[in-house]
Assembly symmetry: C2
Homo-oligomer: 343 residues x 2
């Protein structure tokens, strides 16, 4: 009983099951693959695979279905990321090129990914903590309120209103604010958010003693704002693809929809992906830490502008998923969106 053939059988089972979504038996396996052996041999192999916990039979007299472990082995050793055709690559690039701003890039990316994979696509907004400051702007909002607008290198813009002890909207306030603006930007531009916060620490010393108090309080608020753990945004698309699969299989979509609404969960999903060294990370069924997502798999990767990886994106679907093509799509989309963001 050759090890090699047994794995070939596993591969065939996974492929057939993914395509037909029905448990696959020894006979139908022979019809669709040239294994060069008889049905009985295949049956023996299947029994061995079941023994190893790689496949399982839903009922006594039904075919076999891959287990999570079976999919895992398949992904790790039995398949390679299916290359995309130049035409597909061109279509992706062209579609993403059309975006006009960051929101549009993100929106187009998730939709594209959802329609390519026909699954739920998830994408994290370019992370702020790993971005660098492009510009910081101050806008007086009234006698004691000041809006701080932070623009980072990925094009993302964040605003925040802070309280100031003195009036900055009067004309001398305006002048002072202009000076603060210039100095803050001279110091912070190009730095990461945390670094920028550090650089600003001693800024107040450069000002007139009279203004120092005011500047110090503004800078303090700004530092807080820069360091503060920011809400990371997540966008999704293709949730209706869940309905398609939901009808034929034991994937009750309720819990999945609930998980998808919890953006914290999604962020963790994309976040833990980063810990793996592979370019594209795959988490299968129970490998997934969240109840409700235990019969789904997540295929994700990182993307970023230039050499900086700033956030994650991926797709979520039933464990019975075409991993090679899904992985190819995720990888390709990540590559192209990174290219767009780098410009």
């Amino acid at each position: 009983m050759s090890e090699e053939r047994r794995l070939a059988v596993l591969r065939a089972i996974v492929q057939d099951y993914v395509q037909t979504s029905e448990p696959v038996g020894s006979k139908s396996l022979l019809d669709r693959h040239q294994l060069g052996v008889s049905a009985a041999t295949v049956r023996n192999d299947m029994a061995a695979l079941e023994e190893e916990g790689l496949i399982a039979a839903p009922h006594t007299s039904a075919g076999r279905v891959p287990t999570d472990a079976g999919y895992r082995l398949f992904v790790d050793r039995l398949s390679s990321v299916k290359p995309m055709t130049p035409a597909e690559r061109a279509a992706i690039a062209q579609f993403l090129e059309g975006a006009v701003d960051l929101d549009d890039v993100v929106d187009r990316t998730v939709r594209l990914l959802a329609s390519l994979t026909r699954q739920v696509a998830v994408m994290q907004y370019p992370s702020l903590t790993r971005s660098t400051v492009r510009h910081i702007e101050f806008v007086p909002m009234g006698p004691s309120r000041l809006m701080v607008v932070l623009i980072v290198n990925t094009g993302r813009v964040e605003q925040r209103v802070i309280e100031t002890p003195h009036d900055l909207s009067a004309s001398d306030g305006e002048a002072l604010l202009g000076l603060v603006r210039a100095k803050v930007n001279a110091r912070a531009a190009g730095q990461r958010l945390v670094e920028a916060a550090a650089s600003l620490a001693s800024l107040a010393d450069e000002f007139d003693p009279a203004d120092r108090d005011l500047v110090r309080s503004v800078v303090q608020s700004l530092e807080d704002a820069l360091v503060e753990e920011r809400e990371e945004r997540v966008v999704l698309a293709g949730t209706s693809n869940l309905a398609r699969v939901g009808t034929d299989f034991p994937l009750s979509i309720g819990p999945v929809l609930e998980a998808l609404e919890e953006h914290v969960v999604l962020l963790k999903l994309l976040g833990t992906a980063r810990e793996t060294s592979d370019a594209v990370s795959v988490r299968i069924g129970h490998e997934n830490p969240f109840a409700g997502l235990q019969s789904t798999s997540v295929v994700s990767t990182e993307y970023g502008s230039g050499s900086e990886l700033v956030a994650g994106l991926g797709v979520l679907g039933p464990t019975r998923m075409d991993y090679p093509t899904t992985m190819a799509s995720v990888r390709a989309v990540a590559t192209y969106v990174s290219r767009i963001l780098a410009q």
Copy 2:
């Protein structure tokens, strides 16, 4: 056969059906309501109601179910918006008070509405076209690119990168930009976007002939940006509530999820609501222009900061819905979110 009693029967049918989600027959109706007449009489009334198209029988020997027209009549004449308890109102207010910025307000609002109604909540971002300019900021992004940041009264911030024919990042460019910034804001602040665009038309004339070209092109781009039809953002929550209802009823959630992904559709849904004069608009089943949403109802209303109504929010659910309480929730949430935004 009194008209009055017939309507009482309709009301009872709607209430029972909403509660039990099972077709209601003459007998079970008598058990649950004191109508003071016999089953036979109720049957006669039901036959009449069916004749009028207000109720229908799924099969020959089943109870009756309200039709869209039946619900319509119920909403228009047989029910009133159920008042909320002070405790509920307080909880709403308290939950929304906790929001730290506009994104957070919107996020909390949809989630709140979804959990109150246990349905899908939809909320449009405060519309830009009906907002007023609070501040316009210019940030040089390189030799020939300028980022325009627009802050409106609802706190929403929009950015846009425009191409400029001359370099504005040099030091004299900075000075000029400061002047432009001051004049633009003096003219535009407090005005609606379209008005602001008009006010800016002649701004270039105030500048040195040497700079006039440059200013004109900047102003021109700005006008374009202000007038341009902007993408209106829509946020939703509670999609998992669809799964709950999806199991027991002929609401195939696939098409609904698809419709929910098309933000254009959602905007139209909230938009057409405005045409009705009522405070809370209800669109029932086929009154709804979109295929796939024909067995759902939309309960929506407008909200806004102060007296200005700037956008819509509402919920979407199966036609078999508790209209009075849903309407109450939508109205209450709209009231409170408006109050928050006004501050």
